[in-house]
Point group: C2
Chain length 229, copies 2
Amino acid sequence: MSAPQDTDSRKRLNREAVLEAALELVDSEGLEALSMRRLGQALDRDPMGLYRYAASRADLLDGITELVLNELAIFPTDPDWQAQLRRIAHDLRLLALRHPNVVPLLVTRPLSTPLGLRPLGTLRPLEQILGLLIEAGFAPNDALHVYRAYYGFLYGHILNELQEYIVDPEENVALLRLGLHRLPAREFPNLRELAPVLADYDGEAELDEGISILLSGLAERLGAAPTGP
Amino acid sequence: MSAPQDTDSRKRLNREAVLEAALELVDSEGLEALSMRRLGQALDRDPMGLYRYAASRADLLDGITELVLNELAIFPTDPDWQAQLRRIAHDLRLLALRHPNVVPLLVTRPLSTPLGLRPLGTLRPLEQILGLLIEAGFAPNDALHVYRAYYGFLYGHILNELQEYIVDPEENVALLRLGLHRLPAREFPNLRELAPVLADYDGEAELDEGISILLSGLAERLGAAPTGP
DNA sequence: CGGATGTATCTACACCGTAGACTCTAGGCG
DNA sequence: CGCCTAGAGTCTACGGTGTAGATACATCCG
């Protein structure tokens, strides 16, 4: 009658469990809904107790980005680097669509922390992709440049796609039309005319096409100036 | 002796003045420092009075992004669309470096508002670049795709560059070294080895190179499948 | 048993966005 | 002139936030 009630939700916590609950909250109710008190409530714990597992709210946010990025699998020794980069791109895209509310964290957190001080989990993709490229024959310098082009393109695409993404596909067209109808016709003729095209955006195809272009450009460069013996 | 003290900072306000003060605050002290109370203090006004010029804090943020994007000049009728796109890219980069704290808003605000309901000022670049491309001979459909590739690349680059940007160039190397030194050597060999290269990132050159590649790809496509009569 | 050590909880503070009531000012109109 | 109205400016208050610090509690070691 005095055991600390392990009925269901009162198991012993650990950092991962806390982060998972936080992620769940963010996924379902948005970033703004994530507060220590709300999270404590979701875990049926005193909010102050969470500070044992996350030093601050900022640390919590970092933890979430880390957790999400861990869903991304990279195999830096795969010899087919092009296929690998293509797969990673699609995986990251799906990950972003699965956790749209986390995307702002993904692109924003790194801006506030110098590279070397970031959570290791968020640096791992960088490290591993560098490895992949170096393994593939790029000089380390070039690998870095390639990584930047690749990841830049990827993040850009995700932001683009998510901007035009609307949750309820039923409302999608209507809302879009409604919204665009609001635009002054003489100032925004092109946007208004493109409404139907905007409405059915095939993000996957667009991403794949972009990756193809990028990869062919990169392969060309690799062929032109090989560095290995 | 009773005039409402127009000494200096107590002129009549308007939305733009408020937004400019807000931008100044964000530039100098970061996004988190922007609160109604702080802003009211900066303007020597009652915080509640600001609601006359911005309906909410969110609206304030939207206003700031709009204000910043207005610094970007686009000439949609310039026949040399490639030069135009290149210039815009560099302008946007400089703008991001001038207002690094605003960049999170730039990439993040559009994610929370359906396209048609966004502040007009933030849609204008899209509209005008579409105009530029259509004028250049792209079919409207293609113009949209090209825009996405272009802007995606651009945003990606800016995020990349800002991630590695550190304010005080004196501390830069030291901090970076310090940070990277922290990384476990066996897990992050590539990153550690690339520290010196990371330290002197020439964002302008990298951007320009990327734009060149993109433009040549685009020009090729335009040449391959022209749409005009 | 006594102490010590780590966990959980509570209280309190300074700050936030903003709803709503209130005061004050300027101007129009009889 | 006096009065009324509309709007701008101000104040107070409410329910929320992150988190420092004190306090209570459990658990283990000697």
